[in-house]
């Protein structure tokens, strides 16, 4: 991804500057905010519920974005671990929107680095969206079944099915909405890369 030609001054794995401003401008356009706003206070990372599981913390994601180090960013698990809880966006002193930036990064990563999306997460998203594509709504039994097939986590949570059924929480027959064609058109027009 780093399109800038290695300059004689940059040895081996040191990034040469200024880098090609490719990713940065895409994100700027997608979210209507300039990542240059960020002054690296880290309040986003400090409040991030997933920070302990991320190799790149939120403020580091924004920093890499400022440096336009696209490959490092787009191939990282961390952007997929964001829960979009919006804590970072709510508390950002510079009124930047890290959550939106991460969403935009995911959209690009899905196209450019589909193999790097963690399997369980991509399985969930595609199972979820498949439900909507099929029925217009999410039919939870179908979601779980499809998810298991895609993720390979066949036996997780199996013990909970009887409990769900007993409480009347799992319907077995999906209902399809009448406007399903409309919904499918939305999907085709949004031309989303299908997560694997």
């Amino acid at each position: 991804m780093n399109t800038s030609a290695p300059s004689p001054a940059s040895a081996g794995d040191i990034h040469s500057f200024p880098p090609a401003k490719s990713l940065l401008s895409k994100i700027r356009n997608a979210i209507g905010l300039d990542p240059v706003l960020c002054y690296q206070c880290g309040k986003c990372s400090a409040g991030c519920p997933m920070a302990s599981e991320m190799d790149l913390k939120t403020h580091e994601i924004i920093r890499l974005l400022q440096l336009d180090l696209g490959e490092r960013l787009l191939s990282s698990d961390s952007i997929w671990l964001c829960l979009t809880c919006e804590t970072c966006t709510t508390r950002c002193p510079m009124e930047f929107d890290p959550a939106a930036a991460i969403d935009a990064l995911r959209e690009i990563a899905l196209r450019e680095y589909p193999d790097r999306v963690p399997r369980s997460i991509s399985a969930f998203h595609s199972a979820f969206l498949d439900q909507i594509r099929m029925h217009g709504r999410v039919f939870e039994f179908g979601l779980v079944a499809f998810y298991k097939l895609r993720s390979g986590a066949l036996f997780g949570d199996v013990e909970s099915v009887p409990g769900m059924l007993a409480r009347g929480k799992l319907g077995l027959k999906p209902k399809r909405i009448q406007g399903i064609q409309e919904v499918r058109r939305i999907f085709s027009q949004c031309a989303t890369e299908k997560p694997r």
């Binding site: 997608a30 519920p49 997933m50 599981e53 671990l81 964001c82 829960l83 979009t84 809880c85 919006e86 804590t87 966006t89 709510t90 508390r91 929107d97 959550a99 969403d103 935009a104 995911r106 959209e107 997460i121 399985a123 969930f124 998203h125 979820f128 969206l129 439900q131 909507i132 217009g136 709504r137 999410v138 039919f139 939870e140 039994f141 979601l143 779980v144 998810y147 993720s151 997780g156 949570d157 909970s160 409990g163 769900m164 007993a166 409480r167 009347g168 929480k169 799992l170 319907g171 909405i177 406007g179 409309e182 919904v183 939305i186 999907f187 027009q189 949004c190 031309a191 989303t192 890369e193």
Partner: protein
């Protein structure tokens, strides 16, 4: 009062007790809920995490459906659905590129004046009525009000209550006669949509919330989101099995608490559908047993 009603997928599935209790409470408070015809899923996290346009287009279609029904107010009880609808509306109003994209996809441009309200807004406006019609005030109950993420964040989309120190749920809980406890985890994320895909994260995050509520002396948690409910109720079994954190903590939908205070039948409110039995809570306020034969099936 007539309100457009967007139940969302969960309320027809794993969170059906939320819908049951809502409908019972709405009837008791004379609120007419008119379901949006042929609504589609809001797309939840999966849509916006993979395509920003999809994340706006799906809820925009629902806004379009509501408009066709001449509904000028839409009530979305699920906090996640509420947030997606409100975010989509915000994007349509503030992002001209997105608005024109949506117009070409739907062949329609949804009005941005329709007001989208969540359960906290609906019920806090009814707090006086709730108090007035209270047949079984929940005196003595200590409730931790859990706002989660999507009810108040981000503030420029939700535009109600303080995003850092909210009190609308506390206000409603007070109206039921129960006492809201002071605690600091009311806005922390439970793990949201990772229930299936990263269960361990959900267990870690939800456990912290449960521990904090317990140490603040709460008897139960009140929630406004089916996803939070599932993480805190259904996943609590695993949390409690692995740790010795204390008593199991019943997780109630806000509407169920309000329903109880209005004297509605616990079964009608779907209280028997929870994984963590709210029976200790009912005992505390002197209510009867949830039908034992049904519970034994579990």
């Amino acid at each position: 009062m007539r309100l457009g009603y967007f139940p969302g997928c969960s309320l027809h599935g794993t969170a059906r007790e939320y819908e049951e209790s809502l409908k019972a409470v709405a009837a008791a408070l004379h609120i007419e809920l008119e379901e949006i015809r042929d609504w589609a899923c809001c797309g939840a996290t999966s849509a916006h995490a993979t395509s920003r346009t999809l994340g706006v287009a799906l809820p925009a279609r629902t806004l379009m459906q509501a408009e066709k029904q001449n509904l000028d107010r839409i009530f979305a009880p699920c906090a996640a659905c509420y947030n997606r609808l409100a975010s989509a509306q915000h994007a349509l109003a503030h992002d001209a590129t997105m608005a024109s994209q949506i117009r070409s996809i739907l062949d329609y441009s949804p009005k941005t004046s329709v007001s989208i309200i969540n359960i906290a807004q609906l019920l806090s406006a009814q707090a006086g009525e709730i108090q007035k019609n209270s047949k079984a005030p929940l005196n003595g109950l200590k409730i931790a009000c859990y706002y989660g993420c999507l009810l108040v964040r981000p503030p420029e989309v939700c535009k109600f209550d303080d995003p850092e120190a909210p009190n609308s749920l506390d206000h409603i809980v007070s109206a039921t006669g129960a006492a809201p406890v002071a605690w600091d985890m009311a806005l922390e994320c439970c793990g949201g949509g990772f229930s299936l895909s990263r269960t361990a994260s959900v267990v870690r995050l939800s456990r912290a919330i449960l521990k904090s509520a317990r140490s603040a002396g709460a008897h139960a948690l009140a929630v406004a989101c089916p996803m939070c409910h599932s993480n805190l109720d259904f996943r609590q079994q695993a949390i409690n099995k692995r740790n010795r954190d204390g008593e199991a903590m019943p997780i109630l939908f806000l509407s169920q608490l309000v329903g109880l205070s209005l004297g509605l039948d616990p079964i009608q409110l779907g209280l028997h559908r929870h994984f963590v039995s709210p029976q200790p809570l009912l005992d505390r306020i002197g209510m009867g047993k949830l039908q034992p034969e049904r519970r034994e099936q579990v």
